[in-house]
């Protein structure tokens, strides 16, 4: 033992001194059902991630949009772009606050809920999350301060530089998170030694195969959610005829960007599907409800299931509506090819099928609808109907845009559920099972955790949406003075006459109640 080397006596007796109650807990734990414990740990983690992923993608997407609108303001010197920037910035701040409140939980939960995983994968996974904290989170937090409070205190150029850095650092943060998560999907560049994943090749581990398509997919998803958020709110304002001309600017900009972004997302999604097919065929088979590699006559089963009801006990679908050749076309871009079915995997290595199957379909449908909505906008523009008056005569178009602001959230949720559930039963694909990585917890503690976070995360969510709607109801501030670069008046250190002798040079003036 190391203890001898550093000249410290060992106090093993000391640790057990404190209570007979520990022994009681140990006995209790042995009686609990490990399956229930593992499922509850997954549920606990799934809930906090699900409630966290609501915010960061919008932060990323909206930051890029703020950069664009601020750039438009500097370029055109049009006050409306300034007002729009400040308006969307308010929504950005609420969203960012909610993201931080739910994000601190995430950072501690790996160690709490998945302790053995954190230990084993720590040499790579922990490092990557550490990078995220320091090179992205701190970076972002610093520049967000400048962006929010810097109006009127720093030059225009410096301000847009701050906005750029917020957009860049939030994207950097997403990159690190996706590095860590993708590595769990395709763990390259490491070897398992004495129970730890040691890194042999940092480049291979960071740029693992899954990352190369999963990161673009998530990055574009963030842009898409940001653009639809902007489009939805702009459409609402036009629908309600409030500052309609002004909000046409953001509506046009966001929807025209989406004409490119939405189809691009569908294309990258297909690429990611093929990556999954190559590196984790069991996950792909689960997503598609694809049980049988071959038909009864020995030909490859290329049928793609539109709807199915899987029976995991029997290892087949109770019923299914399949379309021949679509599966091989999707995964291999060929008319006939062999796609591994779940029958190629031992039952204990098969992921659950029902949840990934339907979550995946909902995500694809949402992505498809969003693309069609963007094309609808393009068609109207092509027809020359893209003005506030013309659109107000087409309320269904505006309603469709408003409704579309919700769909990216659903797509992101279902997409992540698909990804995480289809990786089961593995935590690190092929190397560590979920059951090996989970902390040995008491069922009661897991349930308390779940109830508590359901409550608190819902408070954050409801609060965020309540204040979003409040900001939207209030609308942009049209009377506020525009902050052209550095404003001298009222922003210097104001000398207030003091009754008491000053204590050196005070940096802080006292606010009065």
């Amino acid at each position: 033992m190391i203890l001898a080397e550093v000249g410290q006596p060992q106090f093993s007796t000391q640790i057990t001194l404190y209570g007979a109650h520990r022994a009681i807990y140990h006995r209790e734990k042995k009686m609990t059902d490990p399956t229930l414990m593992i499922d509850l740990a997954r549920l606990d983690f799934a809930w906090i991630t699900t409630m966290h992923i609501l915010y960061p993608p919008l932060t990323i997407g909206l930051a890029s949009f703020l950069l664009y609108s601020e750039w438009r303001w500097l370029k055109t010197d049009n006050d409306e772009w300034y007002r729009l920037t400040r308006f969307f910035e308010k929504l950005f701040i609420i969203n960012f606050g909610a993201g931080v409140a739910t994000g601190v939980t995430m950072e501690m939960s790996f160690g709490i809920l998945f302790g053995p995983f954190s230990q084993a994968a720590g040499p790579f996974f922990g490092n990557i999350l550490g990078y995220e904290t320091i090179t992205a989170f701190m970076y972002e937090a610093g520049f967000i301060g400048l962006m929010i409070f810097g109006w009127g205190k720093i030059s225009k150029k410096m301000h847009i530089f701050a906005t750029f850095n917020v957009a860049f650092s939030s994207m950097l943060s997403a990159m690190w998170i996706l590095v860590a998560n993708s590595w769990m999907q395709s763990p390259t560049g490491v070897h398992l030694e004495k129970g730890l994943f040691l890194v042999d090749d940092w480049t291979a581990a960071i740029f693992n195969p899954n990352f190369l398509t999963a990161f673009p997919h998530m990055a574009i998803a963030s842009i898409e959610i940001g653009l639809f958020f902007v489009a939805g709110i702009s459409a609402w304002m036009i629908y309600k005829n409030r500052h309609a001309q002004m909000f046409m600017r953001t509506l046009t900009a966001s929807l025209m960007a989406l004409v490119i972004v939405a189809p691009l997302q569908v294309y990258i999604g297909d690429e990611l599907g093929r990556t999954v097919a190559e590196h984790d065929p069991a996950a792909l088979a689960a997503m598609e409800g694809h049980w049988h590699t071959y038909n009864a006559d020995g030909t490859p089963n290329t049928s793609w299931n539109l709807i199915a009801w899987p029976d995991e006990e029997k290892g087949t679908n109770t019923f299914q509506i399949g379309i021949p050749h679509v599966l091989s076309l999707l995964e291999d871009h060929k008319w006939v090819s062999t796609v591994k079915g779940l029958d190629q995997f031992k039952p204990e290595d098969r992921p659950p099928v029902l949840a990934p199957f339907y979550a995946f379909r909902i995500m694809v449908a949402a992505g498809g609808i969003l693309m069609l909505v963007a094309f609808w906008a393009l068609y109207l523009r092509y027809k020359g109907k893209f003005s506030a008056e013309e659109l107000q005569r087409r309320p269904w178009f505006l309603r469709a845009i408003i409704f579309s602001a919700i769909l990216p959230y659903i797509a992101i949720w279902t997409g992540w559920w698909t990804r995480e559930i289809a990786r089961q039963p593995w935590l690190v694909h092929g190397l560590m099972r979920t059951s090996e990585g989970v902390s040995q917890m008491s069922i009661a503690a897991e349930i308390i955790w779940f109830i508590g976070f359901v409550f608190f995360d819902l408070v954050v969510w409801i609060g965020a949406w309540y204040f979003f709607s409040k900001v939207v109801r209030t609308g942009p501030d049209m009377d506020e003075e525009i902050m052209y670069g550095v404003q001298d008046d009222g922003f210097g250190l104001v000398q207030i006459p003091r009754k008491d002798p000053p204590e050196g040079k005070p940096l802080i003036e006292r606010p009065t109640v």
Partner: protein
């Protein structure tokens, strides 16, 4: 844990540096957020809604920056001491859970208070209760951390105790001590933040007086209890370097006296700085007492460290980035050096 030691052995100095860095992150968090948390506790006992709003407004631009250090400490522990991260955090599940709930409630209250009208009372209380819960649970976590925990004997040893192991008379005591110490810091902060002719300025003095004596008692009891209960602390304090600990104690006493004096003479910022100094020395003394333990009696910093290849890679990347980080932090501080004279807060 010998095998892990084998891997990390050649990089001991890196391990120690990271351990010191994490200590620095944690103590920065305690100093910066302690004042914010303490004013939250103060607001529970002394304030009406208007005053609570003013207290929240006084930290509108800084509270999240202060909390950043907690996130950084967490991320750095995961990156550099994953074996401690995966076992210690599991051991502290319940107190950390309460800390997180408190942080969520407090963050939400601080953000939403400005936007609200009818629901303002809810956020007032959320701010106070969130601060109290966070402080108490963090104190309990610190006490539980000092007690150590039981580990499995597998290839990678991990926590194998029960969910309530953290709960002992000692950890409850450290929880109460943390609340008192934060209250003192909060009072000192409020004194420095509000005009001398305000009611809150006078009330904060009474509060600070009371908390000063309570803190003195609580900290002395904690130190005595530590001395009696933990051999690893006792052996250090009466070991060959006893004079260092005595000196540290003497400096703390001098700093306490100076803080008192500054507070009485209305040199409020000076009082805050002395308090920060006290916290820093106390924490540094604790770190010195702990060495070479990461978690006393459970794992040393070398047991807990990331195997060398990762730690070295982490360090190279970080060392390159830290100067960049510091320079923009400095720029940010410089831009806002004059900001606090009026409370721009978040736009509302």
């Amino acid at each position: 844990m010998q095998h892990i030691m084998d891997i990390t052995h050649g990089y001991q100095w890196l391990t120690v540096i990271w351990w010191l860095m994490i200590g620095l992150f944690v103590v920065l968090y305690i100093i910066l957020d302690g004042a914010d948390l303490g004013s939250g506790i103060y607001s529970l006992f002394n304030s009406d809604s208007e005053e609570r709003g003013a207290i929240m407004a006084s930290m509108a631009g800084t509270w999240d920056a202060n909390e950043t250090w907690l996130v950084v400490a967490g991320g750095a522990i995961f990156g550099t001491f994953p074996l401690a991260y995966g076992s210690l955090f599991h051991y502290l599940m319940i107190p950390l859970m309460v800390v997180l709930w408190g942080i969520i409630v407090r963050a939400v209250s601080l953000e939403f208070h400005h936007y609200s009208k009818r629901s303002r009372k809810v956020w007032d209380w959320g701010f106070g209760i969130g601060s109290l819960a966070t402080t108490f649970a963090a104190g309990v976590s610190l006490g539980a951390f000092l007690q150590g925990f039981s580990m499995s004997t597998g290839q990678v040893p991990t926590f194998n105790g029960g969910a309530m192991d953290f709960l002992t008379p000692f950890s409850l005591l450290t929880g109460v001590t943390a609340v008192i110490a934060a209250s003192l810091a909060g009072g000192t902060y409020l004194r420095a933040r509000f005009n001398r002719d305000t009611e809150i300025y006078a009330k904060a003095l009474k509060w600070t007086d009371l908390m000063f004596y309570l803190a003195l008692v609580a900290i002395l009891v904690t130190v005595a209890w530590t001395f009696i209960q933990f051999p690893w602390a006792r052996d250090k304090w009466i070991g060959p370097y006893w004079w260092a600990y005595v000196t540290a104690g003497a400096i703390v006493l001098y700093a306490t006296w100076s803080m008192r004096k500054a507070s009485r003479e209305q040199r409020d910022i000076t009082a805050m700085l002395w308090l920060a100094c006290i916290v820093f020395i106390n924490f540094a003394t604790m770190m010195a007492t702990l060495y070479p333990w990461f978690v006393p009696g459970t794992m040393t910093i070398f047991d807990a460290a990331n195997p060398s290849n990762s730690l070295a890679a982490f360090s190279y990347a970080m060392l390159g980035f830290v100067p960049v980080m510091l320079s923009y932090n400095f720029y940010q501080a410089w831009v806002f050096r004059a900001r606090l004279h009026k409370l721009v807060g978040y736009a509302h």
